[in-house]
């Protein structure tokens, strides 16, 4: 799921670079730079959340994760 999000970012990046090349200016590359940076942040936070979920639920399947807070304890 997380890798799919990264793939979509990459598709957008290719579009930015290709259209920037087509129109002869380089601002597309700068947008791609910011997108790459945001994707790196997102991966770090997402992986932290996934590891925490694994510690708690012993699974990283999204359909097994159905509560935000344990109300028993």
């Amino acid at each position: 799921m997380l890798i799919g999000v990264e793939l979509m970012f990459n598709a957008a990046n290719i579009n930015f670079v290709a259209f920037g090349y087509r129109h002869g200016h380089l601002d597309g590359s700068i947008y791609v730079l910011f997108i790459i940076l945001t994707a790196a942040c997102e991966t770090a936070v997402g992986l932290a959340i996934i590891l925490n979920l694994y510690k708690y639920f012993k699974s990283i399947d999204p359909s097994d994760v159905h509560e935000l807070k344990n109300y028993e304890s």
């Binding site: 890798i3 290719i14 920037g20 590359s29 700068i30 910011f34 940076l37 790196a40 991966t43």
Partner: protein, 167 residues
Amino acid sequence: MEYIVFVIFAALIIISCAGLVFTRNLVHGALFFLCIMICTAVIFVYNQAEWTAASQLVVYAGGVVILIIFGAMLTANYTQIPKLSFTKSTVFASIVCVGVFSLLLFIFSKLSATLSGNVTQISQADIPYIGTSLMTRYVLPFEISGFLLLISLIGAMFVLSNNTRHI
């Protein structure tokens, strides 16, 4: 010649995406992802964005793939995803995907008809341009993204830290 290289790497991206979607092993998926990132960097070079290709290689092929492999291996008994079950949501998702894909294909075929033939040459080299515009026109997004990187790293450490404190 350049066009042949482009076609080869685009086909490689598509094949690796299919492999990534259909593999049942997270580590194999991460390796497919690495292949996709390297091919994307090649396509960036093809579009004369060398600096973007370099940062793509450093950030994705160096950082994000390593993070994903770590995640896959730390959740160790889960590297083998069970066989995908065919449910109602699968049908819905495939309908949406095919719809979006055909819409994009339609839009890009229209666009390529209007755009064909007039490639404007990029006059300056990209690294000096990116450096100066990051420090002049785009200085606010640059600072904000630096701050975002900082708080996301701190947040990731906080989420992962073993705090027994009850919030």
